[in-house]
Symmetry: C2
Subunit: 251 residues, 2 copies
DNA sequence: TAGTGGTCTAGACCACAGA
DNA sequence: CTGTGGTCTAGACCACTAG
């Protein structure tokens, strides 16, 4: 029973820590101590409400905090769950998603949501060095780890380089297909990353609330002749990924 | 006037978009259109309340959303402001903070907050390959861009390799000092990145609310003989940084 | 259908920034 | 000092998940 000295306004214990942070600490330490394992479900907000005697809004603030830290996540209208550990992504390695997830003893899965031909917006056209409006393959896929959807990717491929791409099974490694069937080999990779919030369309596909924190990874692969092989936007749940780069000075 | 069809619960316009997202869109487009420039201050929450006729909680939800997207930020108890553009950080380049910020036509600044000797916790000791409890230099610095604090860094350096480090002016490039005065040259860099939430202590130093979204960058620099030259944690405001990596396949 | 999170209201007081 | 954001309360109804 945390000192109920007064009953209005913001009384607060002697410690000066807001209630929602205090609750955050309680839950965080429960996770640290293993009382709540990855994947475990937290008590419902209303349960916490009666347990702690604080308003639901305050409860939710603590939960949002933990979500921002990547410790918990929510399944829409189902509940709050403890986040599994993140996978490590290394842009200097050429291994694709399926490969590095398996290497980390996790189970990857890919689902192709759509494959369509779209007119290249000018930003995309620039990258492919083609005229705006040129048709492009646009593949949308959802990828999961241990059954939990962790990213949505939208890949643009030039149909001139990969005609009939749609005929292939795209639920595996796209890089593999481009290499095997079209002789397209990347020799250079450009990667951009930045924290973002997941916008409505992506959020829906991941089954999360719009505005959930995320990480945007933009990959551009170039062939030997400088042609763009793949132009890829990956929208990750922020708690699912960690980036690792190891670099040597070349003498 | 967005259709006041009913007066209780959540009526919502025909579009099915929650009010807080609608407000988010309004503000976001005002920023896009340049009606609000980087650094500009938004109307106060209570002003928006009377302007839009919605409850303050709803207003704040929209603002949090925009903050998570990196479009706006807050100065504690002062107001909400439009975020300046992020700087690009390239871990494959050896240029330090001062250098790459200037290259991007921005004004960098460094402030040393503390320099002390601490006993290495076991995790740190492992990295330096020394016994736990071995004394280490620990430098805490705050770095700013155009006058806005964007990151806190905590650097650990082995005092055996850099005796008397505290005597130097640490408000410039530490890498430079280690190289010039101690002959410590990094030949390998290991970088880890992950989205996080800024914890209380860091948040205070940055003057932001605890839980504000951030990006943690951990750098480990190795000398030719494998010794660890610098072990550095950088806590960035998430809206201030973008990471860029460009990689070639070596034939 | 019961229970969950999602959205929203309309208040209140507190701590601090800034003039 | 005034005004700002920060924290908190105690309700309400909605939209969805899951049994």
């Amino acid at each position: 029973m945390p000192s109920a000295i007064s009953l209005l306004g913001v009384p607060r214990g002697e410690d000066d820590r807001p209630q929602y942070l205090a609750l955050r600490d309680q839950i965080a330490s429960a996770i640290d101590l293993g009382k709540l394992s990855p994947g475990a479900r937290l008590p419902s907000e209303r349960q916490l409400q009666t347990d702690t005697g604080t308003a639901r809004g305050t409860i939710r603030e603590a939960l949002f905090q933990l979500e921002a830290e990547g410790l918990i996540y929510r399944r829409d209208r189902s509940g709050w769950y403890v986040s599994p550990p993140p996978v490590t992504y290394d842009p200097t390695r050429w291994a694709g998603f399926m490969t590095y997830v398996v290497e980390q003893q996790r189970v990857p899965a890919t689902e192709t949501l759509s494959i369509e031909s779209v007119a290249a917006p000018s930003a995309v056209a620039d990258i492919f060095r083609r005229a705006p409006g040129t048709p492009m393959h646009c593949v949308t896929r959802r990828r999961s780890i241990d059954g939990r959807a962790v990213l949505i990717e939208r890949i643009m491929v030039d149909p001139v380089l990969a005609p009939g791409l749609a005929e292939h099974d795209l639920n595996g490694s796209l890089t593999q297909i481009l290499s095997t069937h079209y002789g397209l080999q990347a020799v250079r990779n450009r990667v951009d990353m930045r924290p973002c919030a997941l916008t409505t369309s992506v959020a829906e596909m991941l089954g999360v609330k719009p505005g959930t924190p995320g990480l945007l990874v933009v990959r551009t692969s170039f062939a030997e002749n400088g042609a763009v092989v793949e132009y890829d936007h990956e929208y990750w749940r922020h708690d699912a990924i960690r980036v690792h780069v190891d670099l040597q000075v070349r003498p």
